[in-house]
């Protein structure tokens, strides 16, 4: 090993380092819409029929989705509905928020700001407050606040990035609220990077036509979440950790009226009754769609889609999954982890094994990912690691050639630290990348106020569908969790004041689900929501047994 890389990879690195001066002013041409279409069709996993099938029951029957999504929808509940006593209510609240990540905490805070007493709110989460993808978002948050920019240009960028399949009123809400969100964050004390003249540092992102990516080094999501979390505690919002929801509850009028929670540690269930329920459970990265490694949090198992679907909510755009163009491909310990798009925003080029550029570095994410997969799948212009992983180079040292020494320390501290832990210095040597599963583009369909198609159920964040169409642009997810978290909080507060009491709680919708599943005659019985992914070794799983617990 020489400076973190084996000799076999060093030869290629030497070529990259030698060609850098020559490449510094070379700009690759970006693709036309027709060329984009072609590379996507040939190489993007979304377009590969082997990874997909249609949903076989319910309101989205016939929709073409990844096998892993169809699997969790075609699964039985993980408990027996007949064993649940709904007459004993453990928490009776105005607003139940399921999921305490970026969207959930934003919703909780805006419910309070809108006049809901804090003790009428219940925030629940599968793991800890802040175990979410929001804290892992590095690159930035889009907001069109510069004079040469406008929400209309942001709108156009987002629609084009989403292949014009986005729900227009949601995109309008997203881009119009952007500057408002940054203003709120500044009131909370967020440390967004600023230039010496006081203007915000704003970078480019793939598929954006203006620099509008606000950032806080490469800890942008972390910095946002630390502040929201601090406010949740300051506002004394009641919180239940290690208590995932395993089902939504309805009342006899068909309205969602709370949820069934499960305490991961004591293994007891509890019943929550709520006037309004906000679903902010995040996405499905840990389902490892199409067998890809993922950038996502441990808890991102798509539980929300299952619960919402059983309750009758309409889903959309789940046929499209975001593969981030640049996941780590070496060293093995960090394969699949996110290499922020900001590395490319700051000037790093994407290179083949001999150090020549292979694509324009700032295409929309799906196009960039497909362009890289094209190289690793259909050419020999890739680099192979000792464990057989294929990747291409991301020329990080070029950033400091362009912007000066110290740029990486100042802007990419998290990235630099991650590689330094494995003896790689990204200011000296390039880093090896390959696309990785990153984001659930679609989900539960919302309207601009956060309503789903089922009364009593709101949503926000990655669980939602429609905002990003068929592909999300960088920086629009941190914006989305804040915009729609806020909107859902405000809407829930209005519902709260209307004061309609939920009726008698029921799981009849789940019993109906079971009947529909029975009719499908699925050979292998599956159960969902997944709650946590399975990573124990096979040798151990082969020997698992269930003890009769009362004897322990």
């Amino acid at each position: 090993m020489i400076r973190g890389y084996p000799e076999s990879m060093r030869k290629s690195i030497d070529k990259v380092n030698k060609t850098r001066d020559k490449r510094i002013d070379q700009i690759m041409k970006d693709l036309t819409l027709e060329e984009r279409e072609k590379v996507l069709k040939e190489f993007h996993p979304d377009y590969n029929p082997a990874y997909k099938r249609t949903i076989s029951w319910g309101q989205n029957k016939g929709d073409y989705v990844p096998n892993e999504v169809a699997d969790i929808l075609e699964s039985y509940p993980i408990y027996d509905p007949d064993e649940i006593d709904l007459s004993q209510i453990d928490y009776d609240v105005g607003i139940l928020i399921i999921g305490a990540g970026g969207a959930g905490t934003a919703a909780a805070l805006w419910s309070v700001y809108s006049g809901v007493p804090n003790d009428k709110i219940l925030l629940t989460t599968k793991l800890r407050l802040g175990d979410c993808n929001t804290v892992m978002a590095q690159g930035g948050i889009q907001a069109a606040d510069r004079p040469e920019d406008s929400p209309l240009i942001h709108y156009l960028d987002a629609m084009g990035g989403g292949h014009f399949k986005n729900k227009p009123e949601l995109v309008k809400a997203l881009v119009s609220d952007g500057p408002k969100i940054i203003k709120w964050h500044k009131e909370l004390g967020l440390m967004y990077d600023q230039n010496e003249d006081g203007s915000f540092v704003e970078n480019a992102g793939g598929g954006t036509s203006r620099n509008r990516m606000h950032c806080a080094k490469d800890y942008t999501g972390m910095e946002i979440f630390r502040n929201l979390k601090d406010e949740v505690i300051n506002n004394e919002i009641p919180l239940l950790e290690f208590s995932p929801a395993v089902e939504l509850l309805k009342d006899e009028n068909g309205r969602v009226a709370g949820a069934l929670l499960y305490n991961l540690e004591t293994k007891e269930y509890s019943v929550v009754r709520a006037k309004t329920t906000i679903l902010t459970t995040g996405g499905f990265g840990r389902l490892h769609i199409a067998g890809f490694a993922t950038t996502n949090h441990y808890g991102a198992t798509g539980d929300g889609i299952v619960m919402a679907y059983r309750a009758g909510a309409k889903l959309r755009d789940l046929d499209s999954t975001q593969f981030h163009p640049t996941g780590a491909a070496f060293p093995e310990q960090i394969v699949g982890l996110l290499i922020t798009e900001k590395v490319r925003s700051l000037g790093a080029q994407v290179l083949g094994k001999n150090g020549e550029q292979i694509c324009y570095p700032l295409e929309p994410r799906d196009v960039e990912a497909a362009s890289i997969i094209r190289v690793t799948k259909s050419t020999d212009n890739y680099v192979e690691t000792p464990t057989g992983m294929r990747g291409v180079w991301l020329d990080s040292p070029l950033i400091e050639e362009i912007r000066g020494k110290g740029t990486i320390d100042k802007n990419l501290a998290a990235m630099k630290r991650m590689f330094a832990r494995f003896d790689i210095d990204m200011t000296e040597d390039p880093i090896l990348v390959h696309p990785t599963l990153h984001y659930q583009n679609g989900g539960v369909e919302l309207d601009e106020n956060g309503y789903t198609s089922v009364p009593g159920l709101l949503g926000a964040g990655e669980i939602s569908g429609g905002v990003h169409g068929k592909n999300r642009l960088m920086g629009n997810s941190l914006l989305e969790v804040n915009v729609f978290g806020r909107r859902a909080g405000i809407t829930a507060a209005k519902e709260y004041k209307r004061g309609k009491k939920p009726g008698k709680l029921t799981l009849s919708h789940v019993k109906k689900t079971i009947e529909q599943l029975d009719a499908l005659n699925i050979k292998k019985k599956r159960f969902s929501p997944i709650i946590l992914p399975e990573y124990r070794s096979e040798a151990v799983r082969d020997r698992l047994i269930q003890l009769f617990e009362s004897s322990l």
Binding site: K180, Q194, A204, Y219, F242, H297, L362, R417, E534, S537
Partner: protein
């Protein structure tokens, strides 16, 4: 402690090391991180696991190595296993977070002392900095907080992922990572003032300046919208 070797482990062909999870020995592939090694050994993690990428601070792990008196600490998801590691995780840290209304306080030493009087007990032992998996100069930001140098405290503490290892090691019982949050928020709110352009844009949007534009864009057919998209100009972007 000698580890008992099972028949299955004897047959294992991978390059392995022995680690001790809360005192119990397991043979695991040497290429794994501590977190993945625990899973390989058969633990289905609920505590001490989070983002798995070094950002969330859930997997702070304390360990000693066989025959070495030193206490080490790091993140389980970012650290490779070594032979003879004795591991325990610190998935939760009891540490009081002060409650405050940021609108009613000012960035000063007295604010820091009011909410975290224990910072005055700092012994300058630097145990906090030495244990920090992010290599933050924790003691220095505690000292800056005490001196009212909020900007310096906030900047030094910026990369904190709130794992809480500092608070557990501190002989003066200071919850450093909460002190850091207060310093950062005071600095971000009162020193890093947003540019006027932000407020102007918010006002324009609230006054409906873009409503007509949206109406027009939203009335376009997909084909017309595509034309607009392709024709849009780029500012400050490197384009061919």
């Amino acid at each position: 402690m000698a580890k008992a070797i099972s028949m299955r482990e004897k047959k294992e062909k991978l390059d392995t090391v022995t680690i001790y999870i809360m005192g119990q020995g397991y043979k695991v592939p040497s290429s794994l991180t501590i977190m993945k090694a625990m899973e390989y050994a058969g633990f289905k993690l609920k505590r001490g696991v989070g983002c798995r990428a070094g950002f969330c601070g859930a997997c702070a792990t304390v360990y000693r190595k066989l025959g070495d008196y030193k206490i080490y600490a790091n993140l389980a998801c970012q650290t490779k296993v070594e032979d003879g590691m004795y591991l325990t995780q610190l998935p939760f840290v009891p540490a009081n977070k002060a409650e405050y209304n940021l609108d009613e306080i000012k960035p000063s030493a007295s604010t820091m002392l009011r909410f975290y009087p224990e910072i005055a007990r700092c012994l300058s032992c630097n145990a906090c900095s030495r244990v920090c998996p992010q290599d933050i100069q924790v003691m220095d930001y505690v000292q800056y907080s005490l001196q009212g140098q909020i900007e310096k405290a906030a900047e030094l503490a910026f990369d904190c992922i709130q794992c809480g290892l500092c608070a557990i090691r501190c002989p003066a019982e200071i919850p450093q990572y909460h002190v850091a949050t207060l310093a950062r928020r005071l600095h971000g709110k009162y020193h890093m003032i947003a540019p006027d352009t932000l407020e102007q844009r918010v006002k324009e949007i609230e006054e409906g300046k873009y409503e007509k534009g949206f109406e027009e864009l939203m009335s376009l057919s997909e084909e017309e919208l595509k034309k607009r998209y392709v024709a849009r100009d780029f500012i400050d972007q490197k384009k061919a």
